[in-house]
């Protein structure tokens, strides 16, 4: 039941190794730093009064996050952030290409579409990797991930071409590289 309920959002299983470790403290501190940074960015006031309020508010949010038990590898993925950098430009290029393709189909006179619904393999080791892969599929117009199971993703594609491109497995391999 727990798995099914979580699947509404991410459709992944909570991994067994997500038990509490010393890494939690590091993650809590880095979450605090990130929250404080966002506060400074949004507020733009630097008087001691506002900086003090910021410190209290961020501490409260971190405390609530700790109580909700959402500070784990999945909720606060510090370990893969730098490996995402080479992946994002490639993804952006894919998104641009897919956008042009879908736009052409939308405006073509007889709606040049041939939708398919099929499972594609997802060979990521971690849940987070699978989520990145599934979200990358959805971000690329023309393909939408509709269901996620361990090791495979059910994809609805607007055309056979988009599905064929996904089935070459290039995106799958690149997301696996992001995991390291």
């Amino acid at each position: 039941m727990l798995i099914e309920r979580r699947s509404l959002l991410f459709a992944v299983h909570r991994s067994e190794n997500a038990k509490r470790t010393g890494g939690d403290l590091v993650r809590a501190i880095s979450l605090y730093a990130a929250l404080y940074g966002v506060w400074l960015l949004l507020s733009g006031f630097f008087s001691p009064f506002f900086l003090g309020i910021a410190a209290v508010c961020c501490a409260l949010v971190v405390y609530i996050a700790l109580r909700m038990d959402v500070i784990d590898q999945e909720g606060h993925p510090v370990q893969i952030s730098w490996r995402l950098i080479p992946y994002l430009p490639w993804l952006a290029w894919q998104i641009v290409r897919a956008n042009l393709d879908v736009t052409r189909r939308v405006f073509s006179r007889d709606l040049d579409i041939d939708p398919v619904l099929r499972w594609v393999p997802a060979s990521q080791r971690t849940d987070l990797g699978t989520v990145i892969y599934a979200n990358s599929i959805t971000l690329t117009p023309g393909t939408v991930s509709t269901d996620v199971e361990p090791g495979r993703i059910r994809v609805h594609a607007l055309s056979g071409d988009a599905m064929a491109e996904l089935e070459t497995g290039e995106m799958n391999a690149r997301v696996r590289d992001v995991e390291g």
Partner: protein, 105 residues
């Protein structure tokens, strides 16, 4: 320099507007729910990116630009998740995707 930035902004804003309208038109033209998911993606991705980039060009290196980029990041994190959730819910509820060939199983 200013004219160049203005020209680029025009280009980005009109480009973004084009994709936003294309997404809306697709939403109306497509035959069923699952095919409508794809034009919705147009609005979420290039439509949003181009318009926000155009605004960033006009705002320059300021707090406004930082907020605009934050809006973009939020849209990119929540957009696909919401799309996945709605398509998954539709699939689970038994909605069948429209297909071109009637003999498809």
């Amino acid at each position: 320099m200013s004219a160049l930035i203005d020209g680029l902004t025009w280009l980005l804003l009109l480009g973004g507007g084009f994709f936003v309208v294309a997404g809306g038109a697709g939403l109306l033209r497509m035959p069923d729910f699952f095919t409508r998911l794809h034009p919705a993606g147009l609005v979420d991705t290039l439509g949003a990116v181009l318009i926000i980039l155009g605004l960033v060009l006009q705002a320059g290196f300021t707090q406004v630009s930082a907020k605009l980029v934050l809006v973009l990041v939020l849209l990119f994190l929540t957009g696909p998740t919401a799309t996945h959730a709605v398509s998954n819910a539709a699939l689970v509820s038994g909605l069948m995707p429209w297909t071109k060939r009637k003999d498809n199983d």
